[in-house]
């Protein structure tokens, strides 16, 4: 008996990590809050720790209205130009 697989035939997507930062001292931080309850407050607290411990500066706060979807490309492109690393949270 021959059965078709019910899985997607899309080839597995290759995912890459960004190269690691050699140091975070003095870097510029972006915060991307995802609309979840207390996300902005918590991310800002985390950013404050980097400011205190590593002399970082918080450059921008961006928002996405849908925690379940990737941030819009234009949001990421714009933020990437202004910061060295981004703080965000995963939701769904």
């Amino acid at each position: 008996m021959q059965l078709y697989s019910p899985l997607s035939t899309t080839p597995k997507r290759k995912a890459f990590r960004a190269p690691p930062l050699a140091s975070i001292d003095g870097l510029r931080i972006g915060v991307l809050e995802n609309g979840k309850l207390n996300a902005e407050e918590m991310l800002n607290e985390v950013a404050a720790l980097f400011v205190e411990r590593n002399g970082c500066t918080v450059r921008t706060l961006a928002s996405k209205s849908n925690a379940s979807a990737p941030a819009p490309s234009n949001t990421l492109v714009q933020v990437a130009q202004e910061v060295d690393f981004l703080l965000t949270g995963l939701g769904d």
Partner: protein, 358 residues
């Protein structure tokens, strides 16, 4: 949607024994916990014949994983669910609607909120394929209702890998995650059918998809005015466990609809009443820890609906956030309310025409 880069559908060789094939499907992790029909090649081809487009045509895309749903994969899962080929256009239309970003099928499936896509089929196609809009509306018992809804779930898990406990983190789950599919009742319906109000050409049927968070039976055998009947529905809609800015589905039982229709109420009047009365005071919301300034401001800001009363949090943003229609058996004062996914407007209901593309 054009065909994306794909590999060929994989074939599994299994012994020529039906029960062994059913076990094989379990071992592969392809089921929803219930036995499936083994997706033999001939049955999949018969299902695909219900849509003349190339089998590799993509009908939905999952942004989170990059995985695509082809007609072929939809057909395989439809066979496994127990669908007949004539049900396939409904399933295809459902995913065409679910594919829109506003529906957000990923979030509504992955979430701890545990919603399941509710399908409401409207128009003559529901009758043509023998769907149930009558007694035991939400099941069990009808092959079309049961298997179309089931195929949706099998696709979500098998194609998009939304697996319970792994990428589907629903706290409590939801019986609708087995199957959640109904037909709108036309017999005795005093209002235009959904497919008519949605603007489709006469004779065109539609499927509406809604990320439904659960099922709440609304019993009222004593009320005999629209205000009494809908008052009990509004109270269910505003229960502290469900009240959010999200949308709602209300299915009125024939006994309840007779009371509302006898008073000459239109659908819009019913929606206005429900929106106005499905509310909780700000103090009450604060008392249970569910009040949020941002949400209140959204509801009462510049775009506030005239019926949104100051000092209250209403369910939804406006009356047309409430889909309301007729369904169920002739006997019984039992309507139902289905809340939206979780806390807000992360998924907005969508609809699509059912197209016979043989």
């Amino acid at each position: 949607m054009p065909a994306a880069a794909t590999t060929s559908p994989r074939i599994h060789e299994v012994p020529d024994d039906l029960l062994a094939a059913i076990d094989y499907c379990y071992e592969q992790g392809w089921t929803d916990g219930l036995p499936v029909i083994p997706p033999v090649v001939d049955r999949v081809k018969a299902m695909l014949a219900a849509d003349a487009r190339p089998a590799e045509t993509v009908i939905a895309h999952h942004p989170a994983t990059g995985l695509d749903l082809s007609l072929h994969a939809a057909a395989v899962n439809a066979v496994m669910a127990g669908c007949l080929p004539e049900y396939f256009p409904v399933l295809v239309a459902a995913f065409e609607a679910m594919d829109r970003p506003e529906f957000n099928f990923h979030g509504s499936t992955a979430s701890t909120g545990g919603s399941a896509p509710l399908l409401v089929v409207s128009g003559p196609y529901a009758d043509e394929i023998g769907m149930n809009s009558d007694v035991n509306l939400f099941g069990p018992g009808n092959r079309a209702n049961g298997t179309i809804g089931r195929a949706v779930r099998l696709i979500l898990r098998n194609v998009f890998q939304m697996l319970p406990g792994i990428s589907d983190k629903s706290t409590q789950g939801n019986p609708g995650k087995y199957s959640f599919c109904i037909a709108e009742r036309s017999r005795g319906n005093p209002w235009p059918l959904l497919c008519e109000t949605q603007g489709y050409a006469k004779g065109t049927s539609s499927v509406t998809v809604f990320a439904g968070g659960g099922f709440c039976n609304v019993e009222n055998h004593g009320g005999n005015t629209p205000e009494q009947v809908l008052g009990s529905v509004a109270d269910a809609m505003a229960n502290y466990g469900c009240i959010t800015l999200g949308q709602s589905v209300v299915i009125l039982a024939p006994e309840h609809m007779q009371i509302i229709a006898a008073a000459g109420w239109t659908r819009e009047q019913a929606q206005d009443f429900l929106f106005a009365h499905a509310r909780r005071s700000v103090d009450g919301m604060k008392g249970v820890g569910k009040y949020r300034d941002r949400e209140y401001d959204t509801q009462h800001g510049e775009a506030a609906h005239a019926l949104a009363a100051t000092g209250f949090v209403h369910r939804g943003l406006r009356p047309d956030d409430i889909l309301i229609t007729l369904g169920g058996g002739d006997a019984g004062g039992h309507s139902c309310f289905i809340p939206s996914w979780s806390r807000g407007r992360g998924s907005i209901m969508q609809h699509a025409a059912i197209t016979n593309r043989k």
